[in-house]
């Protein structure tokens, strides 16, 4: 893989040099980068900068060598002729002089230099950063052959009265439209569709593996159709791909290892082929436990870019971080009959010439008769065939959620660049009158117009190059910061590198802008070469800002800045609302972990298994609570609020869906859920006692709006308590998910709890047991005693692992985390937005203020004479200052008024990102306007104040 920056710079070199050395140089540079990367961003940026400089100067020298030899093939002996003059070198020398002059000019006016280079550099750096991210994430094609023909196929369930019962929240129309298909659908599609060339299925799950060493591992498993790898253009690095018949039920179990897993567990040994892996059964595929023969190793670069629907049924409509990388690929058993079906992701490759819309119509017609068999809800009246399939380009499923957000950020940076350009234009224009005498003098001394224009163009070039260099540095850091801080939901973010081509384009734009603006004084200056050059232009104008484009430029700057700062205000306020959202649970000090239980021995009777399981649960709680850091511990069979994991739900004709969990006594204590009425669970609520349930507030409000709920008996369980509601499912921060949080906060799903010991297995009256189906999961929750500092609790974590191992060494502990961390992770996305927006807003305000300051400082320095006259005539310093400040304030108000219109428009674009904040939020608007007005007034006040404090006699004498 070659580095883009180096590849680009190599193009500067003579061809024979490139052909001979480029591959080696790329390799060396790659290794250097790798060595540096460990030392962090600045080290890498420094290496890049040094290499870029060396490469550029080297290229010039190399070409000179070629010119000297006269033999492009190289190999000519003897010293190189240098300094040979010639037209080219003469010109170069002239340019060198101009560059020196320009640099000297910049050094002489440090305020101008810092303001111009700084603002332009910030703009270039910002746009390059965001554009590099957008390019790396959105614009690069997917890493699969014919990626534009790859689509995801979903079943459209909007036509059904009853949503699938497996959902714990009321599904949105969008998620119903993207329900996962089942193997039956896939097989029918493969057999009957003409628009689809080939299709594959995928389902993610996990399996426990018993290693030879006796330890257990939890492995992420992709259950796939035999052709997934070949459909995505991957050939095994070792061994063979799956065979077509390996999806048929009852075949010998085989497995393909991921490249990483092969390396970490088998040390990359080719002898891994033919070895066996002992996997536990799981309920995510119908495979029983057994020995799987390794037949192949997937290539190192093979990965499936998982989208928000990546995990199939239990994740429909939910947004979250991508699942962990797959360790093993195994062929799914596909049963050609209804029942025992699992939801899968279907990836199809369309035949050339067919569009997703055509495919959707055709596949819809194929699925229509089948839907009626497998969907208990039955079709809605008037449902058409087209309703029954949704076909979405694979690219869209991946990038739709992030596209809008990235494009908005890009737009924001473009505004910053615009602002920076306006600023520099403004600064240059302000400088123009002052330079007119200089140019007039030089013209009088015999400099031709071309010479003057060349000098000005060189100045612009030097300015732009310095700004571009600063921009490159900032972009290098910026990209690394975004990669490091960016939320994991953005696919491919970690692969993003700063894009040097973009940097060149931004630098070029800035150059164009500075040249155009820079030439104005040259043209004016040389045209009026013989006009009197004494006396700065514009003296005697009535107003500081009148009669020039400067007022308009200042107003424009403030308008643009207001759009950015007000947007930042909206996002910041939205995040602060999200952060204080009442979740219904107290998260601080809660540690949660998932446990994968060993598979039950099928020869042990069910009742006895249940006893074993209950003993495991209570032994574990006892051991956990023995830890001095743990105040209380509880177990639950489903994921607690805020965490991702399996949930089971019961559907109810009155309530639609409701969330169900079986928990131990202290569950409510641990999570800080207040018991409102009745009693909690106690250890006497075992299988032989009266079966009881605890319900949530919302449940009561919906089922018993007028009666007392306590004591009611439902399905042979008595309601004994009522607890507070909590947010029903985990919430994540994707764009749509903010909408989802809003919905979740408003409509809290009714919740229902039973004692762990009274949990019944689904569809039967017998005791339920998470270990029964094999590889079952439970959650352990702990409230820590106050003195444990969370976040640095690795010791506690290892004690938890030890406690579990002491109860049953076969149980696997994973995903230990604090609830606070889970909430933080969720808030990270909107927080990241807000941070980015604040950065842009701050940058914009700073650039605008710098612009006002720069322009005013310049104007004032030119009009110290006028100020002196006014004061000599009796004006107070205060009057002069307030006159100027009033004028600036008037211009600023006009600009801000325009900005408010822009900010309102921007607010509408941001609406879907906002939580409990209106896009027209007056606080954000007024706050941003006040901030900018203050900045403008202060920026104007400082230079005028200084001018007015000078003794008028001095200024007049100086004239």
């Amino acid at each position: 893989m070659s580095d883009r920056m180096l590849a680009l710079l190599l193009r500067l070199y003579p061809r024979h040099f490139r052909v001979r050395y480029a591959p080696e140089m790329e390799e060396v540079f790659r290794m250097q980068l790798e060595a540096r990367r460990a030392r962090g961003g600045p080290a890498v940026a420094a290496l890049r900068l040094r290499t870029a400089l060396g490469m550029i100067t080297g290229a010039a020298a190399e070409w000179r060598g070629v010119a000297g030899h006269g033999v492009p093939g190289g190999g000519g002996p003897g010293g190189v002729q240098v300094g040979g003059g010639g037209g080219l070198f003469g010109l170069l020398e002239g340019v060198a002089t101009d560059v020196r002059l320009a640099l000297r000019g910049l050094v002489r006016q440090p305020v101008f230099a810092v303001a111009a280079i700084g603002t332009l550099g910030l703009g270039i750096g910002g746009v390059t950063t965001m554009w590099s991210v957008v390019h790396g994430v959105l614009l690069k094609p997917l890493p699969y052959p014919d990626a534009d023909r790859l689509v995801r196929v979903f079943v459209d369930n909007t036509g059904f009265v009853q949503p699938p019962a497996s959902l714990t929240f009321t599904p949105s129309q969008e998620s119903l439209r993207h329900s996962p298909p089942q193997h039956l659908h896939y097989l029918a599609l493969l057999e009957q569709s003409h628009t689809v060339e080939d299709a594959a299925t995928l389902r993610l799950g996990f399996r426990g593996a018993e290693m030879d060493s006796g330890s257990s591992l939890r492995l992420n498993v992709g259950s796939v159709s035999w052709n997934l790898l070949s459909l995505l253009g991957a050939e095994p690095a070792l061994g063979r791909d799956f065979l077509p018949h390996e999806n048929e039920p009852g075949r010998d179990p085989v497995v393909i290892l991921s490249h990483d897993f092969w390396h970490s567990v088998f040390g990359g040994d080719p002898a891994a082929l033919g070895r066996t892996l002992h996997l536990n059964g799981d309920d995510n595929s119908s495979r029983e436990r057994g020995s799987y023969v390794v037949v192949g190793v997937a290539p190192a670069d093979f990965r499936f870019l998982f989208d928000r629907w990546g995990q199939g049924a239990n994740r429909v409509g939910q947004y979250g971080p991508p699942p962990p990388p797959v360790d093993l690929w195994i062929p799914t058993e596909m049963f050609p009959r209804a029942g025992g079906q699992f939801a899968v992701s279907v990836i199809a490759k369309l035949r050339e010439g067919y569009s997703p819309i055509q495919a959707e119509a055709e596949i819809g017609a194929i699925l229509a008769p089948m839907e009626m068999q497998v969907q208990p809800g039955g079709p809605r009246e008037g449902a058409t065939g087209r309703d029954l399939a949704t076909v979405v380009p694979l690219y869209d499923t991946l990038f739709d959620p992030v596209r809008g957000r990235l494009n908005l950020s890009l737009a924001a940076t473009a505004l910053v660049l615009l602002l920076a350009s306006i600023n520099v234009a403004n600064l240059l224009l302000s400088r123009a009158p002052a330079r007119r005498p200089e140019f007039a003098t030089r013209a009088a001394l015999g400099a031709g117009r071309v010479r003057l224009i060349r000098q000005l163009a060189t100045e612009a070039l030097v300015l732009s190059c310095l700004a571009a260099a600063l921009g490159a540095l900032l972009a290098g850091w910026g990209v690394q910061a975004i990669v490091a801080l960016g939320p994991p939901e953005i696919p491919r973010l970690s692969e993003v590198r700063a894009d040097i081509a973009v940097l060149a384009v931004c630098g070029g734009l800035a150059l164009l802008c500075t040249i155009l603006v820079g030439l104005v004084p040259a043209l004016r200056g040389s045209l009026s070469a013989h006009a009197g050059h004494r006396g700065p232009a514009g003296a005697g104008g009535r107003s500081f800002l009148q009669g020039s484009s400067r007022g308009a430029l200042i107003a424009g700057q403030l308008a643009v800045a207001l759009v950015l700062t007000a947007s930042a205000g909206l996002l910041v306020r939205s995040v602060s609302r999200l952060a204080v959202l009442d979740l219904g649970v107290r998260t601080e000090g809660v540690v949660a972990t998932r446990l994968m239980l060993p598979a039950d021995d099928p020869n042990v009777p069910r009742e006895q298994q249940h006893t074993q399981w209950a003993r495991f649960a209570y032994d574990l709680i006892e051991r956990l609570e023995a830890d001095p850091a743990v105040a209380a511990a509880a177990l639950a069979i489903n994921a607690p609020p805020l965490l991702e994991g399996a949930r089971s739900a019961a559907s109810d004709s009155v309530l639609g869906s409701l969330a169900y969990n079986a928990v131990t006594e202290k569950y409510f204590d641990v999570l800080g859920m207040d018991l409102l009425r009745g009693r909690g669970f106690s250890s006497s609520d075992d299988w032989s006692a009266t079966h009881v349930r605890i319900v949530s507030e919302n449940y009561v409000a919906r089922v018993y709006p007028t009666q007392e709920s306590l004591g009611k008996v439902e399905r042979a369980r008595m309601v004994v308590g009522v607890v507070r509601d909590h947010m029903s499912a985990e919430y994540s921060g994707e764009q749509a998910a903010v909408r989802y949080v809003r919905a979740a906060a408003e409509t809290r799903t009714p919740q229902l709890y039973v004692p762990l010991a009274q949990h019944r297995s689904a569809g039967s009256g017998s005791p339920g047991n998470p270990g029964l189906s094999g590889g079952g999961e439970v959650w352990a929750l702990m409230r820590t005693a106050g003195h444990v500092r969370m976040g640095t609790s690795t010791e506690l974590y290892s004690r938890i692992r030890a406690a579990v191992a002491a109860v049953d060494p076969r149980a696997v502990v994973y995903d230990i985390q604090t609830l606070d961390a889970a909430v933080d992770r969720v808030l990270a996305v909107p927080r990241f937005h807000a941070l980015l927006a604040s950065l842009f807003g701050f940058l914009a305000a700073a650039i605008a203020a710098a612009g006002v300051f720069g322009v005013l400082a310049f104007l004032v320095s030119q009009r110290t004479h006028e100020i002196g006259v006014r004061m000599a005539l009796g004006a107070e310093a205060r009057d002069v200052v307030s006159l100027v400040v009033r004028q600036v304030a008037a211009v600023a108000v006009v600009g801000l008024a325009l900005g408010v219109l822009g900010a309102l428009a921007a607010g509408r674009l941001l609406e879907s990102w906002l939580f409990e904040i209106e896009p027209t939020d007056p606080v954000s608007l007024a706050g941003a306007a006040a901030l900018l007005l203050t900045a403008a007034v202060v920026a104007a006040w400082l230079p005028v104040r200084r001018a007015a404090s000078i003794d008028p006699a001095k200024t007049l004498k100086g004239d």
Partner: protein, 120 residues
């Protein structure tokens, strides 16, 4: 535009190649112990002289190009498709020795003039 960018002469007299540039003497010193590829030379220079003076990849390869043309070093097989190794030629060894002697004299002179302090 200075006199720095001249290629070393391929003629037999090592002293005709003197003085060498820092990058050139660094390359020769690295290759004295045996063939190396570009990154190896760079690592070697890093250990010898520290980070801030090692050449960037462009400077290094331009030096390698010049030195191959001047016959001080030659590419050798091995190291794989992308990794060409370089080995020192007898002439290169002679040049390295000559340059080292030149530098030694220089250091001696510096010492004599009291620049580095007197040594016993």
């Amino acid at each position: 535009l200075t006199n720095r960018d001249r290629s070393p002469s391929p003629a037999g007299d090592p002293t005709r190649h003197l003085p060498l540039r820092p990058v050139e003497i660094n390359v020769l010193l690295s290759l004295c112990d045996g063939p190396r590829h570009g990154y190896g030379i760079m690592q070697d220079a890093l250990e010898r002289t520290g980070e801030d003076v090692i050449p960037d990849v462009g400077t290094l390869y331009r030096a390698l190009r010049r030195m191959v043309e001047a016959g001080l070093i030659e590419p050798s097989e091995g190291g794989g498709e992308r990794r060409n190794e370089y080995r020192i030629t007898p002439l290169g060894r002679g040049v390295a020795e000559a340059e080292s002697r030149r530098l030694e004299k220089l250091v001696w002179a510096a010492r004599n003039s009291g620049l580095l302090g007197q040594e016993g």
